[in-house]
Symmetry: C2
Subunit: 338 residues, 2 copies
C-alpha cells in the first residue's frame, strides 16, 4: 500500500511564479507514514512533509497528524485550489468513506469530511493506489497512455488503472485492489485474512517473512550476519545481502519476481494495457526484482506469442506519487473522473 | 468459450412487424459449433440456425459454413442493417483480425473482411465473451447495470465486461480473457500452454478431465457405470450422476465451484461490479455449481465483511447470447463502443 523507502522533507524552489489556483494540497495516508505537500498543476512538489506512523493504529491519531500537516501547509499557501487525499484501504467513491484497510485500523473513517470542515476547503479522497496511478498517468511514466495499470509494491501492494484517461474505480470505489487478487489459494495467510493474495506472496512484508523462514537454510549465514537473528531480518537487509550477491537473498528476489510476474500477467490478460507502471519501495531493488518479474510475466501471460507485451516501467513520481496524485485529483474536483 | 448445451434451429414468429433497419445478422463462431440468426434491435431472435464444428479445425471450412449460414439468412432478410460476428479467441479491435484461439486453429484469421466482401454489408467482429456480455447488458440479466462482468463457462471460459455502458476491450481488443487468469500456478496444463489458468480448473473440459482422473477412486462406480470406461466420461455424464446424488460427481462440482468462486472473487476485487452474469453450458448444472461458487466467492473476495457482494446471476440470453450480442453490436456499428 505505501512506499517503504524513506524520503526527507524538502522545499523545492521551482515554479515559484505559480498562481494560487495552480496549487493544491496533496496528502498521502499510508500504513507506515503520512505525507503531505503543495503541488503545482503540472505535478511539481513545492513543499513536502512527512510523519512516521509507527505504532499508531487509531483513527484519531491519524486525524491529528493530517490536521497538523495540512494546516501548516495552508498557513504558508492559503489560496490553494483544493485538497486531495490518497488513503490506503477501501475508499468508497464518491462518498469518500474509508471502509477498511488491511494494514490499518480504519473502519468507516470520515477523514475527508473532517478535513473539509476543519479547513473550509473542497477536499477529495481516493484510494492510494488510484492516486498513484493518476500521478503516473498525468505527469509520470504513463503520460498519455490509453490503458494504464499501476502497481505500488511496498509494505503491501496497491493498484490502480486509468482507462481512456479516467481512474477506474468500479461501481463504488472498491475496485483495483490488485494486492488481493488470489494467485495461490493454498498459499500464506494475508493481512486481510484470506490465503494466497498477491501481496501475501510479493511485498516488503512477504520478502521479510520469506527471508526469516529461509534464513536457517543453507546459505542463510549472510542474512543472519546482517540481522543478528532470523527474527530481526527486514526487507532492507535482504536487499543489502542481494546487492552483495548473496545467493539466498537473490533467490528470494527471484521468488518475489515469479509471483509479481504472475499477478501482472493476469492483469495484462484482463486489461490489455499499453503500459504497466511499477512503483513503491520494493522497486528500489531494480533489476534484482524486475528481471525475474519480466521472465515470469512472459511465461504466464495468455497467448504470449500472439501479443505485444506492455512496457514494464518504473514509476516516475517515486515515493511522492501519493501526494502528487492526490493533489492532481483535487484540481480535477468538480469533474472528477469516475 | 462456447456453450456446450445443444439447442435446435427454430423460427420465432414474434416481432414480424419489425422494419429491415430493426434487424441484423448475428454470427457466433465457437470451438464446437457455428450459429447464426436474424435478431431485432430489442434482442429478439427471429431466425436461428447452427452447424456443428466437429473435427473441423481449418479456417477455410469455418469460412464455408459462415458463408452458407449468412447467405441463406440474407436471402430471406436482404435488408438487415448489418452483420455482427462473435468469435472465440483473441480478436484484435478495431482491426477485426482473429489472432489466436486456444481451442481453434485460427491464426490471423480475416473472417470479418471476408464476410464484408462476400455480402457487401457492413460487418463487425468481436470476441465471443465480449458479445455475450454485451447481450446481457443490452437485453439480458445485466440490463442497465453500470459495471458488468460476464463469464461464459462452457468448453472453456470466455469473459467480457461492460463498464459504464461500453464493452471494455483493453488497448487492442485482447482484454478480458478471464479464462486465462492464473489461479493455480502449479496447476494443470491449460489448452493455451500455460499452467493453472482459470479454465484449466473450471470448464466442461476440466470437469471431464477431473472426472476421468477420479473415476477409479472410491465412489467412482456410478460414473464408470454410465460411461463404460473412465476414458469415456464426459461433463454431461458427471452432471447426470450428480443430479442423481452421486457423491463423487457432486464433489467434482464442489471443486469446480471452488475454483470458479476464486476467479470471480478476483474479478470482484478488481472490477467492483454490481452484477456478475454466468452463462455457458456448465451453468445448466444450476445450484450444483452455483452453491459452491457462491461459498468460494464469499470466502475469497477481498474485505468480504466490508463490501456488498454483487449479484451472481444466470445469463438470460442463454445459448444464443453470442448470436444476439453480435447482432446488437452490428446495430451499434458506426458508434461502436470501445
Amino acid at each position: 500500500m505505501t512506499d517503504i523507502s524513506l524520503s526527507r522533507s524538502s522545499l523545492s524552489t521551482g515554479d515559484s511564479a505559480a498562481t494560487p489556483s495552480d496549487l493544491a494540497v496533496g496528502v498521502d495516508i499510508g500504513g507506515t507514514k503520512i505525507s503531505a505537500g503543495i503541488v503545482t498543476a503540472s505535478g511539481k512538489v513545492l513543499r513536502y512533509e512527512e510523519r512516521p506512523l509507527l505504532n499508531v493504529l487509531d483513527e484519531s491519531s491519524t486525524t491529528t497528524i493530517v490536521d497538523e500537516l495540512v494546516l501548516a501547509l495552508l498557513q504558508d499557501y492559503p489560496d490553494v485550489s483544493g485538497i486531495g487525499i490518497g488513503c490506503a484501504g477501501l475508499v468508497e467513491w464518491p462518498s469518500g468513506v474509508v471502509r477498511y484497510a488491511a494494514n490499518s485500523s480504519y473502519r468507516g473513517y470520515l477523514i475527508r469530511d473532517h478535513v473539509e470542515r476543519r479547513t473550509g476547503m473542497r477536499t477529495v479522497i481516493d484510494n492510494d493506489g488510484n492516486v498513484a496511478a493518476w500521478a503516473e498517468y498525468c505527469v509520470g511514466a504513463a503520460k498519455g497512455h490509453p490503458i494504464v495499470v499501476a502497481l505500488t509494491v511496498g509494505t503491501g501492494i496497491g493498484g490502480g488503472a486509468c482507462l481512456d484517461g479516467q481512474i477506474f474505480r468500479g461501481s463504488s470505489g472498491l475496485g483495483l485492489e490488485i494486492g488481493h487478487v488470489v494467485v495461490d489459494p493454498k498459499g500464506p495467510r494475508c493481512g486481510c485474512g484470506n490465503r494466497g493474495c498477491l501481496e501475501s506472496r510479493v511485498s516488503g512484508t512477504a520478502l521479510a517473512r520469506r527471508a526469516r523462514e529461509a534464513a536457517t537454510a543453507v546459505g542463510g549465514e549472510r542474512l543472519i550476519e546482517i540481522a543478528g537473528t532470523p527474527e530481526n531480518i527486514t526487507g532492507e537487509m535482504v536487499f543489502a545481502a542481494a546487492s552483495q550477491g548473496d545467493e539466498l537473498a537473490v533467490a528470494l528476489y527471484d521468488e518475489m519476481g515469479f509471483w509479481l510476474g504472475i499477478g501482472i500477467a493476469s492483469l495484462v490478460t484482463v486489461f490489455d494495457p499499453t503500459i504497466v507502471v511499477l512503483g513503491g519501495g520494493m522497486m528500489a531493488a531494480g533489476e534484482l526484482l524486475l528481471r525475474p518479474t519480466r521472465e515470469s510475466l512472459a511465461k504466464h501471460v495468455y497467448a504470449r506469442s500472439n501479443r505485444q507485451l506492455p512496457s514494464l516501467c518504473p514509476a516516475k513520481a517515486g515515493s511522492r506519487a501519493g501526494v502528487v496524485g492526490a493533489a492532481l485529483l483535487a484540481f480535477d474536483g468538480a469533474h472528477s473522473p469516475k
